[in-house]
């Protein structure tokens, strides 16, 4: 592979004082000493305990629900069913979405998956609440279930939602269906592209339903006061999202709801939506305003909260004799779960996102099935897609006898190339990441034994920007309180405080960051989409600039001059052409002399989230007798833009890879034919353990995002994308079989090997 020139001219790296260092994260002490307050730690006087009755059927009509015995049980204070939820009368697609959300909170006329909530109770103890659930009598009329996307697309499939019609960007079908929508990317001439190919590889893939696997189950405590004000404490990535969900389900104004996000024990996209929060509020209302606390057990988490989509994917790629891609085609069929909304929007751009393809078509189908409504697991929809495309790319390399990184160098996107959806790429660091992978000792290290193989996979992820807000107050001791709307799921209090400290030229220790509730700060999107350090970081930068402008006015008052005669550099205000100087801390101490305290707020919608690229290398050893795959070594190269806190970036990379390993080798929902989930516990739903995950070496490549004041790109999601493909490619190199189904369990690996030998 030849040396690769830079895609674009890089400016000299700015000399930062705080950015790029590795301070101890500011939430660390509370977490390691057990003082951090999680949702389960919220204790309110007169609390009632809520519990949920869930469907034992995957698909059934609800003929009747008799709650009288439960209501009569001593200690039971409230029982709710869908009849207690307000009717949603809004017409159109948005009205349908709200009805789906309401029906996912409590099933109305049908249950659509095993674990679907049917009723909820609040009682003076958790034991009485459980007993009350057992006394609720529900009469079901079971219906055939559609569990698999291809089964659900058949003409004779049971229909989940009577009013659903296929939407093809505004063109609506006229027949009942389980296909909620069809989307397409297309450019060039596909037939001509394949006609030019010297080699075409075409394969089909299936991936299992997997769960984000956060350690802390969903929980919520709520008080619905007699004046209509609702306060909710919960574990969420998106406090404002929960506020809006509760407002939609209960049909009350958002101004009446305050959501207080507690510390979060993992989310990974699974805590963006409300499950228990509307129920806790409704039970509180019905019990006369007593606080109601609810928490799921892990069986409920697996059965009833959003896993990511199972999928069927077809990929066809053609290349010429030199390995140049001439055409690429894919069809992605994603299981939405019980209601529309699978992450096709993530999978479709990702499947060929790392490649320049002139002749391309990508079709996507969102299909409802009798499984829990899908959620947004880290880089939603992308790992499925890239498992398929990167497996095909690796097979092409193998057939051409071509170095896998040279293939990517030849075909990889560069600045100015168009994404699959047509949007041109800004400055990216893909080729720098490829170069770093090629130069890493791992790439050429001996494998050291039989049945071992090395796999490579690459990924593109678009990242998200969006709306964020923050507020800051300057105190007389020179410290700054920072109230941020973003929930801290990954150490972002520290990465945001670092950006403010850099801007203000003060020590990081002088910044006191805190995650605010929804009444204390303006609207902020959830901590998803790898957006917080990028978008809220941009807010914090602008907040710093605003504080500097306001403080310059105060210095001008002290020096009896005009603000334009005050300049600021490296934490010091000075009088232009004079000798007067005040450090930030000195000026803060004299704010009283200038008339009033000082605070500022900033909100913005951040465009320009820089796309992320990753290149992963993995070595595996396959046990020829059992098919068990052991991961020996893992290196993950990633363009992080400017890494604000490299240690936190490395943590994101390692965490994403660990989750990707689980997705690749172990995890998957297992249903019986009737649609009952058979492995709704952490013994049978196999999350990776420390015995499965080796030391993961992160390699950060820094190609600053030109659209962010400090060059930040999102980093949190992309690390989960390449592992399934990289591991599949390593298995292929180790034992000569290509796995096309996830998870690549020992049984599947062994069966594939035996089939090949036979």
């Amino acid at each position: 592979m030849s040396a690769d020139p830079q895609d674009s001219v890089q400016e000299a790296a700015p000399a930062y004082r705080v950015i790029g260092t590795r301070p101890i994260r500011q939430d660390g002490l509370d977490k390691v000493t057990g003082r951090a307050v999680f949702g389960a730690d919220v204790r309110l006087p007169e609390t009632l305990y809520g519990a949920v009755l869930r469907s034992p059927h995957a698909h059934a009509r609800l003929l009747s629900i008799d709650t009288r015995q439960a209501e009569a049980l001593p200690g039971v204070k409230a029982v709710v069913t869908a009849a207690d939820l307000p009717a949603i009368t809004l017409e159109g697609d948005w009205g349908d979405n709200l009805r789906y959300q309401s029906q996912n909170t409590l099933a109305a006329d049908k249950v659509l998956y095993y674990g679907h909530a049917v009723a909820a109770v609040a009682a003076v103890s958790p034991h009485i609440a459980s007993e009350a659930l057992r006394s609720i009598q529900v009469v079901y009329d079971p219906l055939p279930a559609a569990l698999d996307v291809r089964q659900a697309m058949r003409e004779d499939a049971p229909i989940l939602l009577d009013t659903l019609r296929t939407d093809s960007l505004g063109q609506r079908g006229n027949q009942p269906t389980n296909v909620a929508s069809h989307a397409r990317f297309e450019r060039g001439d596909l037939e001509q592209g394949f006609a030019q190919a010297a080699l075409v590889v075409e394969r089909e893939f299936e991936t299992a339903t997997v769960h984000p696997g956060y350690i802390e189950p969903q929980n919520a405590s709520a008080i619905y006061q007699s004046n209509g004000q609702v306060t909710i404490w919960c574990s969420t990535q998106a406090a404002f999202g929960i506020r809006d969900d509760v407002a939609n389900v209960l049909q009350i104004p958002v101004g009446q709801i305050c959501v207080i996000p507690t510390e979060i024990g993992g989310g990974f996209g699974g805590k963006n939506s409300a499950y228990l929060e509307p129920l806790a509020a409704l039970l509180s209302k019905k019990s006369g305003g007593r606080p109601v606390k609810m928490a799921m057990n892990y069986s409920e988490v697996l059965a009833a909260t959003g896993p990511t989509s199972a999928s069927y994917i077809h990929v066809k790629v053609g290349v010429d004799r030199d390995g140049l891609i001439t055409a690429a085609q894919a069809t992605l069929v994603y299981a939405a779960g019980a209601y529309p909304g699978s992450p096709l929007w993530g999978g479709m751009p990702a499947i060929f996102g790392a490649y320049r393809v002139d002749n391309l078509r990508v079709d996507g189908y969102d299909v409802v099935v009798n499984r829990p409504r899908s959620g947004s697991l880290r880089a939603p929809g992308a790992a499925n897609a890239v498992f398929a495309s990167e497996t095909v790319m690796d097979e092409i390399c193998e057939k051409l006898g071509m170095d896998v990184l040279e293939f990517r160098r030849l075909n990889g996107v560069r600045q100015g190339d168009r994404r699959s959806d047509g949007v041109p790429l800004p400055r990216i660091g893909f080729h720098e990441a490829l170069q770093a992978a090629r130069q890493h000792p791992h790439y050429t290290a001996p494998l050291g034994g039989p049945h071992r193989g090395r796999g490579v996979a690459c990924a593109y992820w678009g990242n998200h920007g969006g709306k964020s807000s923050a507020t800051a107050s300057v105190h007389a001791d020179g410290s700054v309180s920072l109230l941020e709307g973003s929930v801290d799921v990954s150490g972002t209090r520290t990465s945001l405080a670092m950006q403010l400290a850099e801007t203000l030229g003060i020590p990081l220790e002088a910044i006191h960051p805190r995650v605010a509730d929804t009444n204390a700060v303006a609207y902020t999107e959830g901590s998803y989409g790898s957006r917080t350090t990028f978008a809220t970081g941009w807010v914090v930068y602008e907040l710093g600039q605003k504080l500097i402008a306001l403080l310059s006015e105060r210095a001008a008052i002290l020096w009896e001059t005009s603000p334009d005669q005050v300049q600021f550099a490296e934490g010091v205000f000075s009088h232009k052409g004079g000798e007067k100087r005040l450090a930030f801390k000195e000026l803060a101490a004299r704010l009283d002399e200038t008339g009033s305290p000082l605070m500022a707020s900033v909100s913005l919608a951040a465009g320009g989230a820089g796309p992320a690229f990753a290149v992963h290398l993995v070595d595996v050893e396959v046990d020829p007798e059992t098919g068990k795959v052991q991961i020996l070594r893992y290196t993950a190269v990633q363009d992080a833009g400017q890494a604000i806190h490299p240690g936190l970036v490395e943590g994101q990379i390692q965490g994403g890879v660990a989750q990707g390993i689980g997705w690749a080798l172990h995890e998957g929902y297992v249903y019986d034919e009737a649609g009952r989930l058979l492995n709704a516990n952490l013994l049978d739903y196999r999350l990776p353990t420390c015995l499965d995950v080796p030391a993961i070496e992160p390699v950060i490549v820094e190609m600053p995002n030109p659209r962010h004041p400090y060059g930040v790109r999102g980093v949190g999601e992309i690390p989960i994308i390449p592992p399934p493909a990289a591991i599949a490619n390593a298995i292929a190199r180790a034992v000569g079989v290509r796995l096309t189904q996830l998870p690549m369990s020992p049984g599947r690996v062994l069966a594939a090997r035996l089939a090949r030998d036979a």
Partner: protein, 87 residues
């Protein structure tokens, strides 16, 4: 004039054209002008007087929070993509 990139599923309305140049100082004005030349596009992209909630608009490489109210320059490039968020 700004250039509008037509999503694949709407190209039957533009005779297969992938890009269409159309006048308009804002996206709404451009879509109105486009509708006059290619009837039916408006109904596929607009709900009420707003862009469909599942569609985002990218103008000159940036997702626009102003959506149909986004000002366009003479050389603006407009794409309609799936609205996205993340995990």
């Amino acid at each position: 004039m700004p250039v509008i990139w037509i999503p694949a599923l709407l190209r039957d309305l533009t005779g297969g054209a992938e890009q269409v140049r159309t006048p308009g100082g804002t996206l709404r004005q451009a879509l109105d002008a486009l509708e006059a030349r290619h009837p039916g596009l408006h109904a596929r992209l607009i709900t009420g007087d707003q862009l469909r909630p599942d569609v985002a608009v990218v103008v000159d490489g940036l997702v626009s929070p102003l959506r149909v109210r986004q000002p366009l320059n003479e050389d603006s490039e407009v794409h309609f993509i799936s609205a996205s968020s993340g995990g």
